[in-house]
């Protein structure tokens, strides 16, 4: 049976009918594709947003909560910290090096679009058992990819966490967090404000790479996954470095009104989201987009996920400044359109209208609440009696076994491959509870950590996520800093299974309670569903990235014993 066109772009019949109603007519093929990507799980948060809005997102320190490219927290003295976590699971499962590398690139762009200078990266990695050959290949590739990208851009990867468990064998998790620093009165947003302002395309050229990436991230991983992707995205960290410097230089002028990364769904998401946020419309001409391949059609141009590109909204008559700065850095900067007042995303090709859809309708996918069912394991786990495990006879043997387990062993093999010292701010390096960065010119520092515990969350998602938050909290406190806020990467299986959706819902509930208790609001994050292969779903794996502030960096403490003869004490229950 032939699939309907709407099915091919990942929409249901009901969604198709909604689109017809919104437009008052049948969508054409390009329009249908725009809806397809924007209403995908990856871009539209269809199955998560009804619950995400329950999370605590406000508090004294929060300058920017969820909804922008990244969240921002005030740390005093006029400074603010911008941070966010992002997943790149499916791309990394298919091509570990490039998948992980482009994941790093994406999250870095999210940070500097807000006006912040990225100062640190952290990674949370989940693989199958290391004695499996494919897993070894994925592990080596992912670590090399993160190193290859982060090291080249010159942002230190200062911490992370790594777990090996058979449950992640066919669906590895690669979550990356980036932290940036900025002056708190210099925040930039992804808004297409000011009718008549110019819409600029800057950065790398557009190719066919990563076509349909958002849709790819919104389905289970199958044997055909590789073929579904018309091409793997390849990162160009050097280009990213240029883009980073050029954008930060551009922000020094006041010519910029808004800016957004062309991440998943590239031009489509960046145009409709900036317009939707500002309540304006946007009109672009795909013929003007710098391309690196011949014969690309408008659908390909609108959906391409080529890396290292940005959409910048520039004040009328200030275009010259943009051209000058991007020329200095050897980058493309092309005016491809303008901000309009009609609320539409209008796509032209050499002036001819190809698509015309309300930007808000594209940017705001329908929200679903799915059926839930408590997984049997939760009741079973409650019955488990710890004391049923016999005391081991030989504790030495147990210790040796424990420290030789890859999950507990030192992760130096990994973080040695990451430049964790560049920028000379890393006061506490990886290998400790949290890492600590100084802020030159002040006495302040920022503590950062990223944590998760899939197994706990599997046994009880509500309690599990709270334990994860508590771990992050301890890590921050243990270096002498005060926890401020979190970002969350929520990794789950297919939300259409009631047990999985239950895990998701309970995770949000648990997180809400813990965030309120610890006074660490959520500033943003990422949801990755469909982490599932023929062999089943991964553990529910919420990844928590937490930051803290220390006012006197000299007072920081680390994990190592200092002097012979010092007293060793255990505190707590």
């Amino acid at each position: 049976m032939k699939k309907h066109l709407y099915e091919e772009v990942g929409l249901t019949y009901d969604e198709y009918k909604m689109i017809v109603e919104i437009l008052g007519r049948e969508p054409n093929e390009l329009e249908l594709n725009l809806f397809g990507v924007m209403w995908s799980e990856h871009c539209g948060y269809k199955n998560s947003k009804a619950y995400l809005k329950n999370l605590p997102t406000k508090g004294g320190h929060i300058l920017q909560g969820p909804g922008e490219n990244a969240g921002i927290v005030d740390i005093g003295d006029g400074y603010a910290v911008c941070f966010k976590v992002e997943s790149h699971n499916h791309p990394s499962a298919v091509e570990p090096y490039e998948g992980a590398a482009t994941g790093v690139g994406g999250i870095i762009r999210d940070i500097f679009t807000m006006g912040a200078r990225p100062i640190a990266l952290l990674d949370s990695l989940k693989f199958g058992n290391l004695n499996d050959n494919r897993t070894k290949y994925l592990f080596e590739g992912v670590v090399a990819g993160i190193a290859g990208y982060g090291n080249c851009v010159g942002i230190p990867t200062v911490g992370g966490e790594t777990t090996f468990d058979p449950v992640y064998k066919n669906n590895i998790l690669v979550n990356v967090m980036c932290v940036g620093i900025m002056k708190k009165d210099k925040i930039f947003k992804g808004v297409a404000q000011g009718v008549g302002n110019s819409v600029f395309y800057v950065g790398h050229t557009t190719g066919r790479d990563g076509m349909g990436g958002a849709t790819f991230a919104s389905t289970d991983l199958t044997a055909e996954s590789e073929e579904k992707r018309s091409a793997v995205q390849v990162g160009d960290p050097f280009m990213e470095k240029l883009l980073l410097e050029a954008c930060l230089e551009l922000f020094q002028t006041d010519a910029v009104v808004g800016i957004q990364d062309m991440g998943a769904a590239g031009l489509t998401s960046s145009t409709c989201e900036t317009a939707a946020r500002a309540g304006t419309g946007i009109e672009i001409d795909v013929a003007l987009v710098p391309k690196r391949e011949e014969g690309m059609n408008p659908i390909e141009i609108m959906l391409s996920e080529s890396q290292e590109r940005m959409l910048v909204i520039v004040k009328k008559e200030r275009e010259e400044e943009v051209y000058k700065i991007f020329e200095k850095w050897g980058l493309h900067a092309v005016k491809i359109g303008r901000v309009t007042d009609d609320g539409m995303l209008r796509v032209l090709d050499n002036g001819k209208v190809l698509a015309e859809v309300p930007a808000k309708a594209l940017a705001h996918a329908p929200a679903y609440v799915r059926e839930v069912k408590e997984p049997a394991i939760i009741k079973e786990a409650e019955k488990f009696d710890v004391y049923s495990i016999p005391q081991p006879n030989d504790l030495n043997e147990v210790i040796c076994k424990m420290i030789s387990n890859p999950n507990l062993a030192s992760k130096e093999y990994i973080y040695r491959q990451y430049d964790h010292m560049v920028r000379t701010d890393t006061v506490i390096r990886p290998g400790h509870d949290a890492s600590l960065l100084r802020i030159k010119g002040t006495k302040k520092g920022i503590a950062v950590t990223i944590d998760s515990n899939g197994r706990y969350c599997y046994l009880n998602p509500y309690e599990g996520v709270q334990l994860v938050l508590a771990e992050s909290y301890r890590n921050i406190v243990a270096v002498g800093a005060k926890p401020l806020a979190i970002t969350d990467g929520l990794n789950f299986g297919n939300p259409h299974y009631p047990e999985i959706y239950y895990q998701f819902v309970k995770t949000i509930e648990g997180m809400k309670v813990a965030c309120e208790y610890f006074e660490t609001p959520v500033t943003g994050g990422n949801v990755s569903f469909y982490n599932q292969s023929e062999e089943g779903a991964i553990y529910p794996t919420p990844v928590i990235g937490m930051i803290g502030r220390i006012d006197d960096i000299e007072k920081a403490v680390d994990i190592s014993f200092k002097n012979e003869g010092d007293l060793v004490a255990v505190i707590g229950k």
Binding site: V94, G207, D209, D236, R292, E293, S306
Partner: protein
Amino acid sequence: MLKAEIFVYLKKSISDPPGIAVLNSLKSLGFDNVEKVRMGKYIVVYLNENDIEKAKEQVKLMCEKLLCNPVMEEYKFNISEE
């Protein structure tokens, strides 16, 4: 002894940042008529083997198993006496 010269190169659809970097650099050195550059690997494998047909099969296997990543790359090779 046989010598296999193996060429591993990116599929057409895959972007090639190193190739673009070299292209730009060649242009700035004044090589104006360079249109495109693609970067790949040149792998020379010396085989303790006399039968060219057998060697061909082996090299094909090496490429498929290790040397070439079929998600992004393609390969070709030729075999000669050393």
